[in-house]
């Protein structure tokens, strides 16, 4: 696996801008994506996963804006981007798959048209060539009867098929990076298994990097190489997948793993993390997990920093780092 980072995010801050008031949603996130790897971003609902991924594509919704930080795509610095530059990146260098396969495709156009549009926005080729490429792509993602499906409307396809089409659409311009925001959450387990298998094999074949956003640790275990764990807009732990499962560091990560029901063990009660995630805006100084943390101590009212751990992970917790130095 090449070690070179093709995408680097530094202290990215994204938030709601309302006049002069700025409420951060993503608060100083830094990570990098290496060539050919699959990076998982996990965290609870509302912790800012989607906002992070949208900000990478320059697709932040109205009212939400970049506050600070840098995004480097290879040699490019994405902040200075004009609208035109963004358009060149989107769909060409980076592609995205969204959470809801049901609503990600425009209901009023055929698959052929939607894929064609994607190709034409970056390349000037003939319709026949574009269609040939579309067909090939649909075959690649394992769609049966691809020539028929080309002329279908999204509603004529099942959820799993639509998600495949979305993947085909995202990959048709041969991007370096694929961002997948919860690509299987809306699907059934059996279909989810199909899609995950597909992504795995495609990544191998096409040699791209994937950022996979999910709240399902099972999915992470399935296909990710490395994971960052987010909590309330911050990254609190970054580890290889194996490390994360074998040696979780942050109390939140630990709690999360423990609260998963397992097929293998039988417990009458699951362990659980008390309390809920703080809402953005209500966040105060110090560790954001301290209210729910069984190990909270005085130090936790100060902002913890990401510190490296001996096993190669990084963690944002006062339980670590300090000892490390000793």
């Amino acid at each position: 696996m090449a070690e070179q980072a093709i995408l680097q995010i530094d202290e990215l801050k994204v938030g709601v801008v309302d006049g002069k008031k700025k409420t951060p949603i993503v608060n100083g996130v830094s990570f990098e994506l290496k060539e050919g790897e699959t990076l998982g971003i996990v965290g609870e609902s509302g912790c800012g996963k989607s906002m992070t991924s949208l900000s990478l594509m320059g697709l932040l919704p109205k009212g939400i804006d970049y506050l600070d930080g840098h995004i480097h795509l290879g040699a490019l610095n994405l902040e200075n981007f004009s609208k035109k530059d963004w358009r060149d990146v989107r769909g060409k260098k980076m592609s995205m798959i969204f959470q809801e396969p049901m609503s990600s495709l425009n209901p009023v156009y055929t698959i052929r048209k939607q894929v064609r549009e994607m190709i034409f926005s970056h390349e000037k080729i003939s319709r026949e060539e574009a269609d040939a490429r579309t067909l090939e792509m649909l075959k690649l993602v394992g769609i049966p009867r691809p020539d028929e499906v080309m002329d279908n409307y999204p509603h004529q396809l099942s959820g799993g098929m639509r998600q495949r089409v979305m993947i085909a659409l995202a990959l048709v311009n041969d991007p370096k990076i694929l961002i997948a925001d919860e690509p299987t959450t809306a699907l059934d387990v059996t279909i989810q298994a199909q899609i995950l298998e597909l992504m795995k094999s495609l990544q191998k074949r096409l040699q791209m990097s994937i950022i996979l956003i999910t709240h399902d640790l099972g999915v992470v275990a399935e296909i990710c190489d490395r994971v960052v764990v987010m909590y309330a807009g911050e990254i609190i732990e970054e580890a290889t997948t194996k490390n994360l499962f074998d040696e979780p560091l942050h109390p939140y990560t630990k709690g999360l793993l423990a609260s998963l029901p397992s097929i293998h063990e039988e417990k009458e009660y699951l362990s659980s993390i008390p309390g809920t995630v703080p809402a953005p805006g209500s966040i105060v100084k110090g560790c954001r997990f301290k209210e729910r943390c069984p190990f909270a101590h005085d130090r936790c009212s100060e902002d913890p920093q990401m510190v490296p751990h001996s096993n190669g992970s990084k963690v944002r917790c006062w339980l670590y780092g300090e000892e490390e130095v000793h």
Partner: protein, 295 residues
């Protein structure tokens, strides 16, 4: 202590300023509507002259500030029979609001009732009510107005009734659509599961949830009704001429547009501002209540 109070005041002021800045159209709507409602309520106190006092000597005097001869004492001029235009416009607010409010009330009561049962019970009842609505929609309003008025005569209350029985369809369709989608909501299922009767479910769970749409449509219809009253007067089916209705004033002054512009302009402006007020208010309410528009 003093400082604290001042601070509080400041923040209240700031808060309202913020509100205004955030919802400029809503605030304008509220102010315009408030002006109309207040002038309707306090008409007798604030109008400078008796609005019924016809005085042939003072016929068609221009607004006092625009009178080259300096005869006029009427701020907005006088009308065709020498009555103070301002006083009539102020009193006209009563009529316009009555027509708007009670007309909407009737339409609302009929429409909401049928919309609720049509949407909730569905089946043949729904079919039946919706066909009746189709028939109502296909029957031209003006024709209905003429038929009703030639049978029972003209007058403000009759106009109100006609508007009410014509426009119930709007409410019924809106409510029906909402009820149908509400019915699938889990909390309605839940209400059934905890033993709620149909009546309870409609009253406690469905009605409150369609209330905001009712309010929104209501404000828009108030605006529309004010205009319809004017149109009816234009066709000679309006309220009687002693009643100072804006529509009537406008319709009757249409031949004076060039010679006594104020008789046509000021009632027009009154209608416009009021209708605008209600529409802006309705828009704002909709933006507030429509979950689809909330980001």
């Amino acid at each position: 202590m003093e400082q604290v109070i001042e601070k509080k005041k400041d923040s209240a002021f700031q808060r309202s300023w913020k509100f205004i800045k955030k919802n400029p159209t809503g605030v304008i709507g509220m102010i315009l509507t408030a002006i109309t409602i207040l002038s309707a309520i306090f008409a007798s106190w604030i109008s400078p002259y008796d609005y019924t006092a016809a005085n042939l000597k003072d016929r068609l005097l221009p607004p006092s500030w625009a009178d080259p001869l300096g005869q006029s004492v009427y701020l907005l001029g006088s009308d065709q029979v020498g009555r103070d235009l301002l006083s009539r416009i102020i009193h006209g607010a009563q009529i316009s609001l009555m027509v708007g409010f009670f007309g909407v009330l009737i339409a609302l009561i009929i429409g909401v009732f049928f919309g609720l049962i049509s949407g909730y019970f569905g089946k043949w009842l729904d079919d039946f009510i919706m066909r009746v609505a189709d028939i109502q929609l296909a029957f031209p309003f003006i024709l209905l107005a003429i038929i009703v008025m030639s049978v029972i005569g003209t007058g403000m209350w009759k106009i109100i009734i006609i508007l009410g029985i014509t426009y119930w369809v709007g409410f019924a369709r809106l409510i029906r659509g909402q009820v149908i989608s509400l019915k699938e909501q889990e909390y309605i299922q839940a209400a059934k599961a905890i033993g709620g009767s149909n009546f309870t479910i409609i009253r406690k769970h469905i009605l409150p949830n369609v209330m905001s749409s009712i309010l929104v449509l209501g404000t828009m219809y108030i605006a529309e009704f004010i205009l319809l009253e004017a149109s009816l007067t234009f066709l000679g089916l309006g309220v009687d001429p002693t009643i100072p209705s804006w529509g009537g004033m406008l319709a009757d002054s249409r031949n004076y547009t060039t010679t006594a512009w104020w008789t046509a302009v000021f009632p027009g402006v009154a209608i416009m501002l009021t209708v605008l007020g209600f529409n802006l208010l309705g828009d704002w309410l909709r933006d507030r209540f429509d979950p689809n528009l909330k980001m």
